[in-house]
Subunit: 620 residues, 2 copies
């Protein structure tokens, strides 16, 4: 560790979900990125656990989505319960936790520590970035004269060994440090000079203290193994009774997470409930009272906490285009909607690739302003949703579940990303330049996730698994049914244009490696896979490299797979199988440009406007 450079491109402060997401955005990069955290390691506490589909897509792009799915509990159903006139409880309804247009599960639940563990292992495996535990910032300066110089390191951060105040039950410990040095570290000071600083240090963010946000609230949160006669304990259950409200969310193994609103009738009384007065038995008693006549005991309590819920968004997400804040450090809300970790991951995924592109001189620093423009409105909308949702949650005798359901379904727009559209900017074109497109492909929306089949080997893959977080833009071409001669001919004209364009796009090349190009092309055609051959496609669309030979992972068919059905990609994108279009997709999976195959000018102008400082790679 002593050999780490003190001059870093990006310093990430905080190794929770946001910080680790940001660090994973630098997989395969040669930049000098460091990530520090004042904790001892991953703590075996409860905290967040709900992973929405949009977050799983991010984890897919890191190559760890399936590993997490394997460990997690998949949430399939939500059930609502009310008190009944006889003094008992009765089930009002069971709702599938499903959004048909998504075409896949919307949510899984897993202990946050395990998710962090996967992200850290991935850094070990696929980068030189290593979490430096027990380091905290104690001082920070910025040289304002240097903020516009792309080569400068204008931020100076003093970092110190933190005191060992963390939970003894660590799930993960640094591998390359002697155990003794973990337990009795010297206080070491270090000065780090950074081009960019990203604050992901949580609700009590050291970095954010200057922005001033405070908190209020009244909820308890706990995770245990229940022994109960309540029949819906392995579904998500919302139970309204005269004694309060319980929401239970099943987790991996036998665990269930409980949100318990005590004395919901009188929120003022409840908020007087200080954390130090509350015992775990109080939570259990409350759950028992609310869920009566069902029995309830706890076999094991993994974690619990009582806290005040504040719904706030920071005024600023960034300062001087050099210091950025992400996750809990800029927005706080109730945990019940299960949005905290997910929004943190999305924040960090948004800023991560932008910092990488700037530090690698692929884009001008102007793109950094889009971070706040894109994420602050999402945080605000989320807070409004949360406030609304909490209100319905607290409602006693919710005689009409329709309202609650409505609020719940509104929330799903966030969790799938379907409801998020980033505003026009340098990175998002204003218009769609294609007739005959219905829905799916719109600048500012996330590219839908769908299955396609590899032309060369017949293996089906979901597109967000293919869009690895390697900092690349993708030109995704939908050429329609290329078994029709005119469609193949239009596509190959586009390929010929690509080959002679000045873009930093991978086409056939005799030096370097695929990793070095800023843009790659992916073709998704609508012909039957068996009706065309890879060699029919212009070679710019499946580039030859002198080192590795042909690339077999750039051309896909929207066709039936042998074992996993049909992805119906064209249909999900609102595109007829005899129509065509080109979509420029950002490194974070959002759509920048949608245009016709002949409108190559739109593509050129888009990339030109990103103002790469590095001269364009000369074509060989």
């Amino acid at each position: 560790m002593g050999s780490r450079s003190n001059y870093v491109d990006v310093l990430i402060i905080g190794a929770g979900p946001a910080g680790l997401t940001a660090a994973n955005c630098f997989l395969g990069s040669r930049l000098n990125v460091r990530i520090i955290d004042k904790k001892n390691g991953i703590v075996e506490a409860g905290k967040a656990d709900g992973l929405k589909s949009i977050s799983l897509e991010v984890l897919d792009s890191f190559g760890i989505g399936d590993g997490i799915r394997n460990e997690a509990h998949r949430v399939e159903e939500i059930t609502l319960w009310n008190s009944d006139p006889a003094g008992g409880l009765s089930r009002a309804c069971i709702i599938p936790d499903r959004i048909p247009e998504l075409g896949k599960p919307r949510e899984v639940s897993l202990h946050q520590g395990r998710i962090e563990h996967h992200m850290i292992e991935n850094l070990h495996k696929r980068s030189t970035i290593e979490v430096e535990w027990r380091k905290q910032p104690v001082h920070m300066d910025i040289d304002l004269d240097q903020v516009d110089n792309p080569e400068a390191y204008p931020i100076t951060v003093s970092v110190e060994t933190s005191e060992d105040g963390s939970d003894p039950g660590l799930l993960w410990q640094p591998m390359h440090v002697e155990r003794d040095s973990i337990r009795r570290p010297e206080i070491v000071k270090e000065t780090i000079h950074a081009k960019y600083v990203l604050g992901c240090d949580g609700a009590r963010s050291w970095i954010r203290q200057r922005l001033g946000v405070s908190f209020v609230g009244d909820l308890t949160d706990s995770t245990w193994v229940p022994k109960t006669s309540f029949p819906d304990i392995r579904k998500v259950a919302v139970i309204h009774s005269s004694k309060g409200t319980v929401m239970s969310v099943p987790r991996e193994d036998r665990l269930v997470r409980f949100y318990i609103q005590i004395d919901a009738v009188n929120p003022n009384a409840a908020s007087g409930l200080a954390r130090r007065d509350l015992k775990v038995e109080d939570l259990l008693d409350a759950a028992r009272a609310i869920m009566f006549p069902y029995t309830m005991e706890a076999a094991e309590c993994a974690w619990w906490s009582a806290y005040r819920v504040g719904q706030r968004v920071a005024n600023e997400f960034a300062r001087h285009g050099r210091i950025f804040l992400a996750g809990d450090s800029v927005h706080t809300h109730s945990p019940k909607a299960g949005q905290g970790m997910n929004t943190s991951i999305q924040d960090a995924y948004n800023i991560g690739w932008k910092l990488r592109a700037c530090a690698e001189h692929q884009c001008g620093r102007e793109i950094l302003a889009t971070y706040e423009d894109e994420r602050k409105p999402v945080a605000e909308a989320l807070i409004n949703f949360d406030r609304d949702y909490l209100k319905h949650f607290a409602k006693q005798h919710a005689s009409n579940h329709a309202e609650f359901l409505d609020a719940y379904l509104k929330g799903q727009r966030f969790t799938t990303g379907i409801g998020i559209r980033y505003p026009p900017s340098l990175l998002i074109a204003e218009d769609v330049d294609v007739r005959s497109l219905h829905g799916g492909l719109v600048p500012g929306l996330r590219l839908p996730d769908f299955q396609v089949v590899n032309q060369s080997d017949g293996v089906p893959i979901r597109i967000h698994q293919r869009l690895r977080a390697d900092g690349k833009f993708r030109i995704v071409v939908f050429p329609g049914d290329v078994s029709q001669e005119h469609a193949m001919s239009r596509l190959n004209q586009f390929g010929a244009w690509l080959a002679r364009s000045k873009l930093d796009v991978e086409v056939s090349h005799s030096e370097g490696d695929s990793e070095e190009f800023f843009i790659e092309t992916i073709t998704i055609h609508a012909a039957r896979r068996a009706d065309v051959e890879l060699e029919d496609f212009h070679e710019a669309l499946h580039p030859w490299s002198s080192r590795w030979g042909w690339n077999y992972w750039n051309v896909y068919a929207d066709d039936e797979s042998y074992h996993d059905g049909h992805g119906e990609a064209y249909q999900r994108c609102g595109l007829g199988r005899n129509h065509d279009c080109v979509v420029v997709v950002r490194p974070d999976g959002y759509i920048s440009v949608v245009c016709g195959l002949e409108n190559t000018g739109a593509i050129t102008s888009f990339f030109d406007a990103l103002q790469p400082i590095k001269s364009v790679r000369p074509r060989i």
Copy 2:
């Protein structure tokens, strides 16, 4: 390591796929199991790579199937090529690598070292068994007076530190050993007293030497990254030309494995090709000649070898019911059919649970005789298939692909397990005592793999993922459509019988843990999931434990899932949705007994005949 006991229940020799499979059969057991290997660690060599569906089911039962699927290349298509009259090559056909009745992919390919890595990590995570590298047996004695005493340790094995003769490119090294001690170990001798010894030490097995098997052959085998104009390089391709035969199998990343038959016209000349005379360039030249006019270069060669193919089966698989042989140590054949590793895994999975059951006193030692009775016929059938297949492979100008295809498809019967039926024995009942069953459920066949939906949480799961390798027998009940009152009533009568039976089956209990029972019950009903509640089922079918509460993982529906379609379990088992039956499934997933719900006597007699020495747990 010094603290390991020298008195072990099972000593496994060899930590390849067979040995590691056997070790994983002891997950969760308190037995003292040791596994030694003379190598330094997992070697980064090529060797086996094809994992068939039946092996993936075994890995699923260890909980690591999905992790391996994520890394592997899925094989979807096979293509056959012939020389054409113009002197070139032409594609004769593309065949889906699919068996519709299997309902899932048949095959993936992945470097054997990665598969071993997953199995070793699983031992670390879920057991106290640790591979002891660099230890080889040098002497073995058996005390014949003690072989029938179940408490005795009749086998004495002297073990010594092996010389460091292995490849320096290790993929995995023991974690708890200083690096220095790996490089310059002292020679340490140790005497181990074992109840059972399992030899999984490969084709040159030290243990098997006394059985005497020899080898002959003429094939080359190599894995590299090809740069080629051949269009089907990412499919399985079989190319017959006047210059010889090539079979290529795509692997993970960019790798492809090539089997090249040099000078197929004159096998005698070819077999004169000694391994030491051959260079990797010779392989490449041969591939180029056979695949002409397509170009072929190698970007990277990961591994290669030339060897003689012997097709032999050992006379004995076991001696004195105490020493057993598995995998390459008892059968050798060509690698082309991709059967070696798979058969090794199946061998070890077959003997693994039997040794566990005997050492844990759940079964009498008589069951051990079934190992040779079950696996030797499979090895013999495999050798016959391989001989036939190799003959077709070597055929020049295979003018008629039908024969080759036929041989290939015959092979699929092994790879899926569909073609394997174990003979009647203590462990396999003679007859099926159920009318109206068509196919699927037959004693001696493997339980088909199908998806079912959890009654309590709606999560779909494939049944072989549910049948964890924990040494348990399962009573799998198919009660039909339990929304019909008479069907639920018949099922609950069966539940009542279970609750009062003397079997070591988990029903509701107030002490101990689920793990301690030898038998568990799984119910798969054919009603719509929403039409019944868990509480409608007799509690013996979803046992209450005083420690953990209700068990939510024993009752499943053969119903539509929210995101993954319908498993059609009844149909795959050849069972009408209004019919019922009970199936006793062995710990390795093979069917022991099929009987009617009212024929509980068949179940009792089956378990009685296994002669557990341990007294039956008293019912509380």
